[in-house]
């Protein structure tokens, strides 16, 4: 029996190592998810800048604005899929700024996202028509109700 003990011990050690390794790799995966999500959010900001350059007559053109609006819409799917458990500010302190309330109030959170999605569709239509005033009003609306609303309720202040 005693002979088996070191073997058992080694097996236990391997199992433990594997488990720790798996947990660590999950954490690393979640960190990647958070990093990608934040990059996508920043990309959304870059798109909005291109759109505003057009509607505020600050050196932007219609084609770039339309392309940016389409890019924003495509980004939505990526961002939508990123709200996975394990990626909140309590799971990854200092790395994620997503409040854990997102996962306890998912319906409310998704409703805010829907405002943005329908706003982006309307924005694209307005930009395709060259309706700068309309586009401005649409951005103001989703900026307040979706972007600002979501950051107020569900984002931890980062800096």
């Amino acid at each position: 029996m005693r002979k088996h003990l070191p073997v058992l011990g080694a097996a236990a050690a391997i199992v433990t190592l594997l488990a720790v390794g798996a947990a660590a790799s999950f954490a690393a995966d979640n960190e990647t998810i958070v990093r990608d999500r934040q990059a996508a959010m920043r990309q959304r900001g870059t798109d909005l800048r291109a759109i505003n350059a057009y509607i505020d007559d600050k050196g932007g053109d219609q084609a770039s604005a339309v392309a940016a609006a389409k890019d924003m819409i495509a980004l939505e799917q990526k961002i939508d899929a990123s709200w996975l458990p394990g990626t909140s500010s309590t799971d990854l302190p200092g790395k994620s700024n997503a409040k854990p309330e997102i996962w306890t109030e998912m319906d409310k959170f998704k409703a805010l996202g829907d405002i943005l999605k329908s706003g982006q569709e309307k924005l694209l239509a307005a930009l395709e028509k060259g309706d700068k005033t309309g586009a401005k009003a649409i951005i103001a609306d989703f900026g307040r109700n979706s972007c600002g609303g979501c950051h107020t309720a569900y984002r931890v202040k980062a800096s």
Partner: protein, 291 residues
């Protein structure tokens, strides 16, 4: 001995401060102007428990601070639970001096340290506006603050050390726009209450005014908004500040959230001229690195 004499004179001074009764005549307030100022001061945020679907201005909103959790009180005109029984003079004293009816010392979590800077007329206008709001019979939640910070009598000394009574005097060295910005930022919108770090007794460290507070309300960081180019908002134009106050959108097209998201709900109701005045004032501050 010298110390006990100092304590006695402090206590005597405090007593004087308590006994001195307001003598000014009540002013006629304009509720429409009051509504504007009320929005600028963002009173709604602390006095409405939005998170739990509370009635407007009926209180109950929790505000966590390093000293404990305070609950915004009911400021609707309900005579029992709100401030319906307060005279204009009592309301004036609460904002100007931080003293409520019955000589109750108000905790400085209520930013009377800023509101004290308001003009008599502006205070009267806010009072008039509040009288037009629907009354809600909702009792106040007691604050959950640890000793000794929850002891109101200690505020007598706190005030002697840190409170400077207003109103804010216009500065003749600056133009009307700057003075309006100074008045809005410091007396009405009380920006410094969150963006200025506090000492261990919870008073604003005025030497680092607007340099950011790592321990802001609800445990959130309030950023440095002095014109320091690295740590502050020195790279922002006045127009960028106006846009932020109007829409919540930062120059990088991020949108502010947390406490500032609530503040924007107030500042978006300001006129462009007033937002511009705040921007001019903030741009004139001394750049302070850090935070």
């Amino acid at each position: 001995m010298a110390r006990s004499r100092a304590v006695i004179s402090l206590a005597a001074l405090a007593l004087l401060a308590i006994v001195a009764a307001p003598t000014r005549a009540a002013l006629e307030g304009n509720p429409e102007r009051g509504a504007y100022l009320f929005t600028a001061a963002d009173c709604v945020s602390c006095h409405t428990d939005v998170k739990n679907k509370g009635q407007p201005l009926a209180g109950g909103r929790a505000l966590t601070t390093p000293f404990g959790t305070f609950y915004g009180p009911n400021i609707t005109p309900d005579p029992t639970y709100g401030i319906g029984g307060w005279s204009e003079a009592e309301f004036h004293r609460a904002l100007r001096e931080g003293i409520g009816p019955g000589r109750t010392h108000l905790f400085p979590v209520f930013p009377f340290t800023s509101f004290t800077g308001m003009t008599d007329q502006d205070i009267a206008d806010i009072y008039a506006y509040l009288r037009t709001r629907p009354a809600v019979a909702q009792p106040n939640k007691p604050h959950d603050v640890s000793a000794p910070f929850g002891w109101r009598f200690t505020l007598v000394f706190w005030r002697l050390l840190f409170f400077e009574e207003g109103p804010l005097a216009p500065d003749p060295a600056h133009d009307a726009v700057w003075n309006r910005g100074n008045y809005l930022a410091n007396a009405v919108a009380h920006c410094g209450e969150c963006h200025t770090p506090r000492n261990f007794l919870g008073a604003m460290r005025t030497s680092r005014a607007y340099a950011g507070n790592p321990d802001g309300p609800d445990g959130q960081k309030a950023p440095n908004i002095t014109p320091d180019p690295e740590k502050g908002i020195g790279k922002w134009s006045a127009e960028d500040i106006v846009t932020l106050l109007a829409t919540g959108q930062k120059p990088d097209f991020d949108y502010v959230g947390s406490g500032m998201g609530e503040v924007i709900e107030g500042t978006r109701g300001l006129t462009d001229a007033d937002r511009h005045a705040i921007a001019v004032y903030l741009k004139s501050l001394r750049p302070i690195p850090g935070s």
